[in-house]
């Protein structure tokens, strides 16, 4: 029963992941794409958290921490680039 909940959670997050990829690939402005990419990586962090809960392993959370760090740096860099590349 409880394992089933976690398995269904993994499936559901896989669906959310596909939706986030579609968000990034959709034709929209650069700001929307940057925040969609951040959404994608946050959903991936959630997937790793569910894995950690499912298999009772600690190491998935290490990967989640690194992923969150990289996502933060990527968002900062992309937003900075978008800011400086505007037409003046």
């Amino acid at each position: 029963m409880h394992g089933l909940v976690l398995d269904l959670a993994v499936l559901w997050i896989a669906g959310l992941l596909a939706a986030s990829v579609a968000l990034v690939a959709r034709r929209s402005s650069a700001a929307v794409r940057i925040l969609s990419l951040d959404t994608l990586v946050l959903v991936l962090v959630g997937l790793l958290a569910v894995f950690a809960a499912d298999r009772r392993e600690t190491y998935y959370l290490d990967a989640a921490l690194v992923l969150a760090l990289v996502a933060f740096a990527a968002t900062l860099a992309a937003a900075r680039y978008y800011d400086e590349s505007r037409p003046s």
Binding site: A31, L35, Y82
Partner: protein
């Protein structure tokens, strides 16, 4: 593992999934970048934190400490990232969509203005 804790893990996982799904739907449905940021920075981040708390309850003390670290990191960085994206979008002239929007923040400063 006691019985209440197992149900708490299930409830937290389901709650986190619902909140994350609402956040992703919000990023789809909101009209412009600024309102999309509301859904992204608050709903998705808090859903992930719910899932992390579930993992912390399920695992041992080491897992709980790691989960606390990741949750604190997300709580610290999600507002900063949202602010940076919103600021870049506003300075790039990203339009606000909607029937009665009003931008009270004035003109965008010159690119070489020493305001940073």
């Amino acid at each position: 593992m006691s019985g209440v804790l197992i149900w708490a893990v299930d409830a937290l996982v389901v709650l986190g999934l619902v909140v994350m799904t609402l956040g992703v739907v919000g990023v789809y449905r909101m009209p412009d970048a600024y309102t999309k940021l509301h859904a992204q920075s608050k709903a998705v981040a808090l859903g992930v934190i719910c899932l992390l708390v579930a993992a912390m309850l399920r695992g041992e003390s080491l897992t709980a400490l790691r989960g606390l670290l990741v949750a604190a990191f997300l709580l610290a960085t999600a507002p900063v990232a949202a602010h940076v994206v919103a600021r870049a979008a506003w300075r790039a002239g990203e339009p606000m969509k909607g029937e009665r929007v009003i931008d009270e923040s004035g003109p965008v400063p010159e690119p070489d203005a020493p305001e940073r």
